[in-house]
Symmetry: C2
Subunit: 240 residues, 2 copies
Amino acid sequence: MSEMQDRHITEAFDRDLEAIQALIMKMGGMVEAAILDSAKALEERDEELARQVRENDKQIDRLEEQVNEECARVIALRGPVARDLRTILTVMKISANLERCGDYAKNLAKRTTVLVQMQPVDGSAKSIRRMAREVELMMKDALDAYIQRDAELAEDVRQRDAEVDQMYNALFREFLTHMMEDPRNITSCMHLHFIAKNIERMGDHVTAIAEQVIYLVTGVLPEDNRPKGDRTSFAAPGET
Amino acid sequence: MSEMQDRHITEAFDRDLEAIQALIMKMGGMVEAAILDSAKALEERDEELARQVRENDKQIDRLEEQVNEECARVIALRGPVARDLRTILTVMKISANLERCGDYAKNLAKRTTVLVQMQPVDGSAKSIRRMAREVELMMKDALDAYIQRDAELAEDVRQRDAEVDQMYNALFREFLTHMMEDPRNITSCMHLHFIAKNIERMGDHVTAIAEQVIYLVTGVLPEDNRPKGDRTSFAAPGET
């Protein structure tokens, strides 16, 4: 292949990649909004907003399909190798993680629809919203890190996941206490607990995105050495 | 490119694909074992078996990495297009879904380590084990469907996920009842509930594998028209 042809292919690939990255950014923006709105709907008991979050998730799903199709098209058409191929495969992983976060936000919105029928549990929705905000900020930074190819920022996001895990552990204890104090809280606390767990899982997916960025920039997937995580599976809170 | 060269590339691709499929089958076997063993460890309160499940998960994770690396290598080396490319991308998605199921089994095993310290909750571990068996059978069939390129069997797997969802809904009600009857059951029921939910999620991942098989064979990703699912987010059991 001549140098000229080579350059044409590279330029074409770069254009394609930019178009796909634009889709990722759009998806990221929608997922960030879904996280914030679902937590807001829960705290403000806003059923209409919860309904919107559920409705918007369909668009997020469609965007993921579009990213997959575009990536497959670019691989087939441009035959990327080495770093370019790694970039395309990374993009597919990032969009899969975004889609999962969107699903969790949708699930949060669904449970909100149930929870508004019940007696609120003191302060819980506020704590959950704080946790959701933290995850949304992590996601914003993870996507920035991707666009800037900033491994340091990505590493920072990764470390911050431990804070989300701590918030979850605190909430788990809070819910157990509410349930034991008053059995009428049991059903709503089960739902709230799921919501908290799902936000904690979103944090894991954002962390996975950050790790993909680190892999993309450095070529090495970080070892699992960050402080983990959900400790409720190791010891029942109050018994540690 | 000459016809001869073409045929060589096709043969080389087929050989590569077979090697990757062998990895997927190995991974599938390990994940199936993890599902069954983790549920067995829970019912029989076998801490050593639970420890083994957690240990084995590292191997499953390594296999997923290996699949990803091999797929990237094959794409770079053989430049597959159309159906071949679709196959490779499908394989990557299947291995990601298998890895998630492995994670859920590991989580089940972790919670078992906590639960053996507590008073057992009547009959729950037995019901959970039945649910795990159902999911393991679905996974076996989903992987068979992949190897045989059998869209009909994959569709069958997809439909069976509704049964797993029903099992989960029944367990959710059971746990709520136990918690309301005796607050001393609350902590263990929270863990058991998580376990049940995680098995239900494994079912979703197996369904995703089945859908990938359908996509691979027919070129069309099935519409979301199967009977869904976890109804606990729509209405609290006992209140429907």
